[in-house]
Amino acid sequence: MNAVLEFFKKPFLRKYTNYIVVALFTVIFAILSLTGGLKMGTQFLLEQIGIAVLLAVSLGMVVGFLGELSLGHAGFMCVGAYVGGKLSSLLVGAMGGNEDSIVALLLALLVGGLVAAVFGIIIGLPALRLRGDYLAIVTLAFGEIVRSVFMNMPERLFGGTTGLETPRFDRKYLFVFAFLLVLACLAVTQNLMRSKHGRAIVSIKDNEIAARATGIDVTKYKLFVFTISSFFAGIAGVLYSYSNVRLQSVNFDYNYSTEILVMVVLGGMGSINGSMIAAALITFLNVKLQTMLTGNLAVLQKLFYAIILILIVIYKNAPGLKGFREKYNLKALFDKLFKKKPVAEDMADGKEGDDAE
């Protein structure tokens, strides 16, 4: 056991731990799914986790690395979902109704992502003029506009209030694609952030004027980050369209955007791994609340969620609780429980190192 942990602590491998973990998950679940070892609910949950992780990581680029607040991520997702969903339903129709066509899926992903990226550029342009919360409201406004426009497009085009009917990919495989896309997104973001461009982007967040003074093309980088981020949001949207039978534009409202923002903030600003883990856990939590609190208990879902949210944010952020945090945290708890097993501590340490970017 110790030897394995030691092996993973090698600097070369530590750099890629998160890839390995995601890849392992993908392979394990894919095998389970193919052999019929996964329940339907788990397959749906994994799809949702994949989509949420993509959204959180891509929003994390804008919020965590670039330091701009965006409240319209669901809007980019909506664009991707509708464009990709329309394309895939046309392709599937043309190919004789095979909803599981991989060609259609890949084409839809590409086109949905690209169109969303174009919208990212369109919204990124004002982002250059606006600062802080003004940008936040513009992105929120953008999301609401997209939602309203798609709903009121002619019914034969985008389905109107009944929603756009899109192909539903075989649930046995869809989450595997989602996880593979998470890996691709991880590769892009992580490599970008570890490159000199990434350092330039972070320097804009830390001090825009200083960054400008050192010759960094702030405009170019901001636009670049917005575009990449909305590309992946669009991809997530296409996956969403494939995981639902019908797209309802009303679901892409600002509440969805704030939900993604919660994942990014809880995961820790500027931490890709944090975003991924928070997205997975929050999705898991919400699904569990949804399926366990049924009937008369359903009203407690949002209450529990809200209380957990508030407590966690205060616990991990409140300056006044610094001493408390240092005394009572899970690492300390682990140390106490497993005093004779320093392994636990090692593990926590090992991951901590990777967390910081």
């Binding site: 609910g41 009944t162 898991f284 366990m292 009937g295 879902q301 949002k302």
Partner: protein
């Protein structure tokens, strides 16, 4: 890292609590009926009504011996009127062992539910998902009127008023981002006599508290068609009671049901006449509707009394009746019956001239999944004496 671990722990704790709460209701031998509806959020009143009424029917049936001695069991999941939550709910219900279903309370989620239920051949009879695309006559059946049909019937009525010279100026007020309202509106306009000149106003969810503008525009109308639910309708009537002509008529579809409970004593302050075309009237004074109203009100008050609940109550009883008849015909139905087998039996039953009479109509029959029953024109409030 600490934070993430904290998050993990919190999630596990909550999951544990939930598991503890939900495991209380574990029973063994029951006929399992699944339902998904908006138990929270903006449409919660409809989901709550369905859940309460369906549970009430289940309790009554169980008290009377269940289905051939086997009790029924209802599991209602919350979908917040959000179709993206349906896959999860459906999987959870199937995991639980759902044998037959009430589908979803609202249309958009129900269309989502339909896809999965059709693949697995799960029979469902929805109380209130009224979209025309829901019923298919294979596994999906409606207890309520379909939207398109309602729009057409309403248009026919308006056309007949026009031909008789009794229409006056026609106004329409609908909710543009709601598929119930939009669906009826589209069919209404499509079937409306083209000689009629109508004034159309609409609203959206984002602006559902202030109708002053729309009321001002409809002030001169004599007949106002409102294919919307009773909550915004009541608000429109209250806000417009001075502005809209005293002699005007408000005309709505089954969504109007619940208006009287919503308006309460304020009904007296509204001079305009109100009528609707529906399968249920929450002020019914006789028959099974009255029985349902009394029982529901005794248990849950009048807050959530509406046609959604009445239809859900009927759904449970209709399913019970169909299954009882099937058993009488020699079919075997018990807690072990597979959903697909049950679907096959129920499909044969519902497509083969099964009739049911309940709170929302008598001698109902099903054709292609659509319910066939008489729409009743209710006059909630007559025109005030001039």
């Amino acid at each position: 890292m600490k934070r993430i671990l904290a998050l993990v722990l919190a999630v596990l704790m909550i999951a544990g609590c939930c598991a503890a709460l939900s495991s209380c209701s574990k029973t063994t031998k029951t006929i399992k009926i699944g339902l998904s509806g908006p138990l929270t959020g903006g449409a919660a009143v409809y989901g709550q009504a369905v859940k309460n009424a369906a549970q009430m029917a289940v309790d009554e049936i169980n008290a009377a011996g269940g289905l051939n001695g086997i009790p029924l069991e209802l599991k209602a999941l919350d979908d917040v009127h959000d179709s993206s939550k349906i896959a999860t709910n459906y999987a959870e219900l199937m995991d639980w062992g759902m044998q037959v279903s009430l589908g979803c309370v609202t249309s958009a989620p129900c269309l989502e539910f339909l896809k999965y239920a059709k693949d697995d051949s799960v029979f469902f009879l929805t109380p209130s998902a009224s979209n025309d695309g829901v019923p298919n006559g294979e596994n999906s059946y409606q207890m309520c009127f379909a939207d398109g049909n309602q729009g057409k019937v309403a248009a026919d009525y308006v056309n007949s008023l026009y031909t008789a010279g009794n229409l006056g100026k026609l106004g329409i007020f609908y909710k543009s981002d709601d598929n119930y309202s939009k669906g009826i509106y589209d069919q209404f306009v499509a079937n409306l006599n083209s000689a009629i000149d109508e004034k159309v106003m609409s609203f959206t969810d984002a602006n559902a508290t202030d109708f002053t503008t729309q009321i001002g525009a409809l002030a001169e109308c004599d007949f106002i068609f409102m294919p919307i639910y009773y909550e915004p309708a009541a608000q429109f009537m209250i806000q417009g009671k001075d502005t809209i002509r005293d002699t005007a008529v408000y005309y709505g579809c089954d969504g109007f049901d619940g208006l009287e409970g919503q308006l309460g004593d304020d009904m007296d302050e509204i001079d305009q006449a109100i009528s609707m075309l529906s399968h249920f009237n929450s002020k019914a004074t006789e028959g099974k509707a009255k029985e349902f109203i009394d029982k529901y009100t005794a248990k849950h008050g009048t807050d959530t009394l509406n046609q959604f609940g009445a239809a859900a109550y009927d759904c449970i009883y209709a399913l019970h009746k169909a299954m009882t008849e099937l058993i009488a015909e020699g079919k075997e139905i018990d807690h072990k019956t597979d959903a697909a087998d049950l679907c096959e039996m129920l499909k044969g039953k519902f497509n083969g001239g099964f009739t049911y009479s309940g709170a929302t109509g008598s001698n109902m029959k099903w054709e292609g999944g659509f319910v066939n029953k008489g729409a009743i024109a209710y006059e909630i409030k007559a025109r005030a004496a001039a």
